[in-house]
């Protein structure tokens, strides 16, 4: 039987479509309204409420917690002060990415790591002699993401502590009598927060947030709207833009941190004295320049796009619905040089955009590649410019 999240009484009442998806064994709304694009604009113009509860959550604590995490996570956890979070990743010893997630530091030796897939056995097996305990606290708390330009003013009404919270900052507060943790995080590339609330008090927090947001255009948003926002923001999705190296059958399905464009996580390697899993491989990859490609943004040439469809007698489709599937990238000579994994028409950018892997010699912004897309049941080759991620990045995201 599929599970429901602690917000289900509210999300089911709000879901006018009857459309749901399964996320890690939980029912989550695909979209609440007949237009997911309307939900998307809530993220960019007011705020959207997203139920993130199905995330896996691990509490990692004990006197050696920092030392342990410094050795298993690619990004240096020691640089994360108490009351902050970090977007991080963990690698295998060949430098391939297992998964990514956000980790929060609630105390000097008390952390909360989120992930899209179960990782308890993986981390447990690495504890060895460290005085560290990892608890799966996935079901203890519900997570309500409030994402969009109005998120700060709305949450500020409920918890003034939130107003000054820096990007990836963490605050404890009380909302509707519930002890909550609010993090300035999200998966939309916009100003946004996530409220971590004990599961049994989830509904009271939902109600308080919706009441505070009344009349401000804030609506619950489903998976499709979230995917739209995350593609514009260049945020990667497991099993779409990359696969876990733990379960990949071949290296073609594995990606290194550098190849995913996440090399910035380890940019201080020269002064980083940690010994962490994958470090040697990473250093070798950087030294020997063995990266096969790099994940980057593509922006399709709009004139070329329209031309292909006009010539075929079709009205150029500009569909915002994200296509999270593979399309192939070619050079001018018709040789395949990479592939795209997420594609959509961006209403904010007014262009078709994609997340794609291109060879290192094509990563310079403005480099032109060809993206293969079907027109009248035949493949055509569309000009696309390599563009740095994120493709949409409002100042308010971090300001």
């Amino acid at each position: 039987m599929i599970r429901t999240t602690p917000f289900h009484d509210r999300t089911s009442a709000a879901n006018a479509t009857g459309l749901w998806e399964h996320w890690s064994g939980y029912l989550v709304a695909q979209r609440y309204q007949l237009s997911e694009k309307f939900e998307y604009f809530a993220i960019r113009n007011s705020a959207g409420l997203f139920d993130s509860s199905p995330l896996f959550k691990y509490r990692i604590h004990g006197p050696d917690a920092e030392h342990f995490l410094a050795g298993v996570l690619a990004r240096d956890i020691r640089t994360c002060p108490v009351g902050h979070g970090q977007y991080t990743a963990w690698l295998d010893d060949r430098g391939f990415v297992i998964e990514d997630g956000v980790i929060f530091r609630n105390g000097s030796d008390d952390f909360l790591l989120t992930s899209a897939e179960p990782n308890l056995a993986y981390f447990d097996a690495l504890i060895g002699r460290h005085r560290v305990v990892i608890d799966d606290v996935s079901e203890d708390s519900a997570v309500l993401a409030v994402q969009g330009p109005k998120a700060r003013e709305i949450l500020g009404c409920l918890a003034p502590e939130v107003v000054g919270l820096p990007y990836f900052g963490l605050a404890t507060a009380t909302i509707a009598g519930a002890p909550v943790t609010v993090s300035r995080t999200g998966y939309t590339g916009d100003l946004g927060y996530e409220i971590w609330v004990p599961a049994e008090q989830a509904l009271a927090v939902w109600d308080a947030v919706t009441e505070a947001a009344e009349g401000r255009g804030v609506i619950p948003i489903g998976m499709v709207a979230l995917y739209m926002a995350r593609i514009e923001a260049g945020l990667l999705l497991l099993d779409v833009d990359f696969s876990s190296s733990r379960y990949a059958w071949t290296d073609a399905h594995r990606s290194t941190l550098i190849e995913l464009g996440l090399g910035w996580m380890v940019r201080d390697l020269t002064i980083d004295d940690r010994s962490f899993i994958g470090r040697a491989a990473l250093e070798a990859e950087l030294r020997d320049k063995t990266s096969r490609w790099k994940l980057t943004g593509l922006v399709l040439d709009w004139r070329d796009y329209d031309r292909h469809f006009d010539q075929a007698g079709l009205i150029p489709p500009k569909d915002h619905t994200p296509i999270q599937d593979e399309y192939y990238v070619y050079d001018d000579g018709g040789a395949q040089i990479g592939y795209a994994t997420s594609l959509m028409y961006s209403p904010m950018l007014q262009r078709h955009i994609a997340l794609a892997r291109v060879p290192l010699d094509r990563t310079r912004p403005g480099s032109v590649v060809k993206l293969e897309l079907p027109v009248n049941h035949r493949y055509e080759y569309f000009d696309a410019a390599v563009t740095r991620l994120p493709l949409y990045n409002p100042d308010r995201r971090t300001a």
């Binding site: 237009s35 709009w302 915002h320």
Partner: protein, 579 residues
């Protein structure tokens, strides 16, 4: 649907005061890069008269090409008829023009508008109340729309599909005309003959049915066309509403088909006929345009009304402001309507008499008004109980073709409609920054309100028009009047006075076949030039016409740049010969 309007007056004393520095909802800086009028160098490469959307578009393209460009705007804000004003604290009114559709997609790209805040918000529904209390409510779900239409007429469910398909094919065929300078059929220039031949071959290659449908729409009535598809009055009323917007025709009039087609030619994210509400209204949009123009280097001078274009030896050489300041440039572009461009900014004696005659005959006869409301809450439609999601798009008060035609009957004889057609938009349901939480702003486009009233005038009838509109709304939304916090009426006369559009015509000249394409604004002068060298026109009175489309501004810029390149080439040739 259809959306561009105008009207407005600062006479009420509640106009957004520029001095308070608050000129948009986000409190960002107003557009204020006034050139220094004392500066000795008041010479530019190009001067654009009028800071509406076409003037800004034109100026942005010219600046982008490297020309030192000055845009002169008479009022204290840019936008012309596309402005958003805080006429009550916290309430932002789209005083005149109120939605986007026809804006050419290449302008968004060429001028990099997304970098400057371009944000067309989706309007996810269309709501058409009926006089019997029922309604037609169309949304984003295709299947649900079919069911909703079938509720009114099972026959019309697939008729609606067929209609959309047939019309879309016509739109696909016609659309390229919006993006091209009309050929000059009176010219022997080989380039023009090629353009004409290309146009001819395009039409020859069309499917017979598509061509025939196009001609039926371009010359016939909306009623005849719609009757071929539909049974249901509400469907026909809803669709026919787009056939009258801004134009003195009824749905039964020949010529209404053209207006219908025109309003469907717009697109939003690739969807024909779809409309969007720009963040902060169309004033928000023109601010984006202004920022883009400035980013390319254009200067914008507010509160700089132009008295006249200065000419010397048959060429434009600059402009003189009302206060006597002169700016000089070899290129002067008028974004004003044809009457002002040819009969007021220059001395008609400098123009050929046949052109002057044509412009004097050019029909303006504005026929629309705006009544905008600040509301204490969302109106209640009894059949939908406490729902308000139906207001996230246009609310179309035009429940049948007969309703629309009867509204026109009043206008034919010089009076405003007793039961007017209303195109309403409660924009605060889409953009929460338009009104305080829980409150709303409601824009109502009103038709018919003819500029020329029989035995009265608009200063006398203004409040009465507001009462008529409010009474009409009350009949559909009982209790509406109790919600009204403020009412702003903009008659055609207000449009003329505030925006400068002659006779308050929102398209800067009627959409009538003799005033379109090759003949807009006059035969032989549809290519944005004028008989005065260096003097160009780029307003909605030129091809392809009105609505917040930008095409006239863009196409005119193309002609200016082409002429400039030609002049340079001949200069180079002369130098070469002399050498």
């Amino acid at each position: 649907m259809a959306k561009t309007t105008s009207a407005g007056s600062r006479s009420g004393g509640r106009g957004a005061a520029p001095s308070n520095g608050r000129d948009d909802a986000n409190g960002t800086d107003p557009i204020t890069n006034l050139p220094d009028r004392r500066a000795s160098d008041r010479t530019y490469d190009a001067i654009v008269i009028g800071g509406g959307h076409n003037g800004l578009t034109n100026g942005a393209y010219l600046a982008k090409s490297g020309m030192r460009t000055l845009i002169l705007e008479r009022r204290h804000i840019v936008g012309g008829a596309a402005i958003t004003e805080e006429l009550r604290p916290g309430f932002w009114f789209t005083t005149f023009s109120y939605a986007l559709s026809l804006l050419r997609p290449d302008i968004i790209q060429d001028l990099e508008l997304t970098k400057h805040g371009f944000m067309p918000l989706l309007m996810p529904s269309t709501f058409a109340p009926m006089e019997n209390g029922d309604y037609l409510l169309l949304g984003q779900d295709h299947g649900e729309n079919q069911r909703e239409i079938a509720r009114h007429s099972p026959h019309d469910a697939d008729a609606y599909e067929a209609y959309n398909h047939d019309v879309s094919r016509v739109l696909q065929a016609i659309k390229p005309l919006l993006d091209a300078v009309p050929p000059d059929i009176f010219s022997d220039d080989p380039e023009e003959l090629i353009a004409l031949a290309t146009l001819g071959s395009r039409f020859r290659s069309l499917d017979k049915k598509v061509l025939h449908d196009a001609v039926r729409l371009l010359t016939g009535s909306a009623a005849d066309f719609l009757d071929d598809y539909f049974d249901s009055e509400i469907i026909k009323g809803y669709l026919a509403s787009s056939s009258i917007i801004g134009t003195k025709v009824g749905p039964y009039s020949q010529g209404s088909g053209l207006v219908l087609l025109y309003h469907l030619l717009g697109e939003h994210d690739g969807e024909f006929g779809a409309w969007a509400f720009h963040k902060q209204g169309n004033g928000g949009f023109t601010k984006v345009l202004a920022r883009a123009a400035q980013a390319f280097g254009a200067e914008i001078a507010l509160e700089s009304p132009v008295e006249r274009v200065i000419t010397r030896d048959g060429r434009a050489v600059g402009v003189a402001l009302v206060d006597g300041t002169e700016f000089h440039a070899p290129v002067v572009v008028s974004a004003l309507d044809p009457r002002r461009t040819f009969l007021e900014l220059v001395d008609p004696r400098e123009l050929p008499s046949d052109l002057v005659e044509t412009i004097e005959r050019f029909r303006f006869q504005g026929t629309s008004a705006k009544v905008n409301f600040a509301l204490d809450g969302a109106p209640r439609y009894p059949a939908l109980g406490d729902r308000t999601d139906q207001y996230r798009g246009f609310t179309n008060i035009g429940p049948s073709m007969e309703y629309l035609e009867r509204a026109y009957d009043d206008a034919k004889y010089g009076w405003y409609s007793k039961r007017p057609y209303l195109d309403c938009a409660i924009q605060s349901t889409i953009d929460p920054d338009m009104a305080p939480p829980g409150k709303h702003v409601m824009s109502c486009f009103v038709q018919y309100a003819p500029y020329h009233l029989r035995e009265s005038d608009w200063d006398t009838e203004k409040e009465s028009l507001g009462d008529t509109v409010q009474a009409t709304l009350e009949s559909f939304f009982p209790g509406f009047g109790d919600l009204v916090l403020q009412r702003e009426i903009r008659t055609p006369l207000d449009i003329e006075r505030t925006v400068g559009l002659s006779e308050g015509n929102i398209f800067a000249g009627e959409f009538l076949a003799p005033q379109m394409f090759l003949f807009r604004p006059a035969p032989g002068w549809s290519q944005y030039r004028t008989p005065i060298g260096g003097y160009y026109q780029c307003g909605s009175g030129t091809h392809p016409g009105g609505c917040v489309m930008g095409a006239p501004g863009k196409l005119a810029a193309g002609q200016i740049l082409k002429d400039r390149e030609r002049a340079r080439a001949s200069q180079r040739a002369r130098v070469a010969v002399e050498a």
